[in-house]
Symmetry: C2
Subunit: 422 residues, 2 copies
């Protein structure tokens, strides 16, 4: 096997320019929600050139929305397909899903970027652009690894099921559609930006919207009203406390070095229309992290109980309790054993390339892995180049060195997991 390992590693090292070209093209086709088709076309063409079995389809919202895990406020999925490309093995080997999402979050304020957000320009070994780290760099690693195996003429026993899905950033409808289409694997790797760490567990998460009522009045006689901002402050204080309570319970050693394993993020608040009026409405939006071994419904219940408890001591809130909606994004948590064979194989691949053992942590964010493991019954490890600090930010970039190392690690992992046929 050392022979094949060296073969694919050598191929990747000789073809860095291919990886860069692919990544740059993917970044330049900014694939924000609803505009994924052009970037997806690049993936599809690449897979066609590699001779993979292609399955390209548009999500049927009507059908998909029947599933309890479906969460999407997207009106229309047409024109922006999911793509799955399979490298069939000769049989009797373990299969693996390589899952990556093609959608990127909006570029935000262009003035915050020092370059065009979709330039794909390179500086000091970093390739810049929206999606470079989240997660087109990871996608390029996957395709490089597969191309290396194919180009070196290596035949595998198990299938490699490469998935390029839409909608990860908005609740995972793309991966859910792939699972419901029947795609399963003996294992799966999702190269989200883990900074080259292995994440067997992953935080789930879900969005909430809390609506707080007040009573309007003139600011000069504000005591005649009830200020929705003041009530919102009280409620947010309770949420901050709830975050502390929930995190105090987390003892999993995977979370040892993570300051807040399952954060509750206060992401948005809007209240009031006029400086000298007492606002009668406040809307808080945020994201609640869910522990790997927790059910989303349990976390919902805990939040709702906390909101109820704060009403008890407040006459106004008792009569006008805040309401909570669990809207938009919703990512299932995942929880793979640290000693699962896939962890072992991937860890060994890492050791071979990096000459040290990998860091193993729990993912601080939800990924499509929750759907793959919970709905698709497929063991998932999150591992990839890039770093979450720059994801969703201006001047997002990926360190190309990491991308190529990840490609080598994944290629070796595929050889061992799916097994070389000859």
């Amino acid at each position: 096997m050392e022979y094949e390992e060296n073969l694919v590693r050598g191929w990747i090292q000789k073809h860095h320019s291919k990886g860069i070209r692919l990544l740059r093209k993917l970044v330049q086709e900014g694939s924000v929600r609803g505009c994924e088709s052009s970037a997806q076309a690049i993936i599809i063409e690449k897979c066609r050139q590699l001779g993979l079995e292609l399955d390209i389809w548009e999500i049927d919202k009507k059908e998909l929305s029947q599933h309890p895990a479906f969460r999407s406020d997207r009106k229309d999925f047409s024109g922006n397909p999911n793509a799955v490309a399979v490298l069939k093995g000769i049989g009797e080997g373990r299969s693996i899903i390589l899952n990556s999402h093609i959608d990127v979050v909006p570029e935000g304020n262009k003035e915050d970027w020092s370059k065009d957000p979709f330039s794909g320009s390179i500086e000091n070994g970093h390739l810049y652009g929206r999606g470079a780290t989240d997660m087109k760099g990871g996608t390029a690693s996957l395709l490089l690894a597969m191309e290396a195996i194919i180009s070196c003429g290596i035949i595998l026993k198990g299938d490699i099921i490469f998935q390029s899905v839409i909608e990860e950033e908005s609740g995972g409808a793309g991966t859910l559609a792939a699972v419901l289409r029947g795609y399963r694997g003996d294992g799966a790797i999702i190269p989200e930006p883990t900074k080259m760490k292995l994440f067997p567990s992953q935080q789930g998460s879900m969005w909430f919207r809390i609506i707080v009522k007040g009573k309007s009045a003139h600011g000069g006689t504000r005591y005649e009203g009830v200020n929705a901002i003041e009530k919102a402050i009280k409620i947010m204080g309770r949420i901050q406390l709830l975050e502390k309570e929930r995190n105090a319970r987390i003892t999993d050693p995977l979370y040892q070095s993570i300051p807040i394993p399952i954060p509750i993020n206060l992401g948005k608040i809007n209240s009031g229309e006029w400086p000298s009026s007492v606002p009668d409405l406040a809307i808080i939006e945020g994201r609640m992290g869910v522990a790997p071994n927790e059910k989303l419904e349990e976390a919902e219940w805990e939040m709702e109980s906390a909101l109820l408890s704060i009403c008890e001591g407040d006459a106004w809130l008792q009569k006008n309790p805040p309401t909570i909606e669990w809207f938009g994004g919703r990512w299932l948590p995942g929880n793979l054993e640290v000693d699962h064979p896939l962890m072992k194989t991937l860890g060994e691949g890492f050791q071979r390339v990096m000459n040290h053992s990998p860091k193993i942590e729990a993912s601080p964010w939800g990924t499509d892995g929750g759907i793959l493991s919970n709905i698709g019954n497929t063991p998932v490890v999150i591992f990839g180049p890039g770093t979450t600090e720059v994801a969703h930010e201006a001047n997002e970039y990926i360190d190309l060195k990491d991308m190529f190392e990840a490609a080598e690690i994944i290629a070796i992992t595929l050889l061992h997991w799916c097994e070389v046929a000859k």
Copy 2:
């Protein structure tokens, strides 16, 4: 004098329908900011019919903006004039300014109104519509009082200077323009909705905008960022404390029955764009009440000191202190002696009509009286029909009975203050 008193009171009692017609027409011409001209035209036509000396002019923003008390973000004053109408006395009597504003705040959400906001419809003696209480009802009282005196053929010694100004709701540029045009009086009455109480002192107020910085991050790793909402909560907590501290110092008996003499209203907060991102900016807007004997600059300084003090214990805020802007509305406080002759005359007029003595309090809100007294050097009492609870609200209304009683009280006050000539 009792003869003249009875004459004008009798006239008003016989001509309620005139007052209702006038008020309804004024309400039906919704005069929100920038659209004051149609309502103003009704006032002007009425004053013309009464034979008053008219002075109608458009505010010269360039000129007015030179004055330190000028505060307005209005781009264009053209087309919506100020109007002053004078009933000249024969001389040697005290003059009086009767000041009312023609502008109304926006009607807000029309669905919150049970009737059209500009219907002027009457039910159970209440006339409904935006501006009915703030302050077209008061305006109608003034014009009824003047019409009664004129119609009864009574000649006064002092001048009555009736002012219908724009821009009260947005900082007082209309009254400032009238003062700078030279209008002064030996006294002034502003019939804002005091619920028929006399307000010799009035709270000043000014608007503030606090900009709080954070550092963005993904919600799942929120500890990598600094949440602007959390910092804003801290700052708003300090502002709530500042309000307590400032109000603890108020000992003026006029404020005895007012729960919070000089409130600081948190009117607006906006932060964040995405539930699962850590927001890096929060903007708080509000209104700070200023005590009658306080300077605006002193209050500003106190707020700014409070903001500084909260930075001390917070490493992030120390490096990234919040900034404060004193933008938009700015109303000077006013402070007339309780035993000022105008208070006495108006109080006696009240006693005569109502058969009990008036309640005397401090105004919980700023009015154009601050400009009249501070810049125009004119002693001001705020007294009028209507109630602040319904001002700026849906289903604003005025109790017509109050409006007619106020007209009688003001008419009697004019007779005594300006003195009857024959």
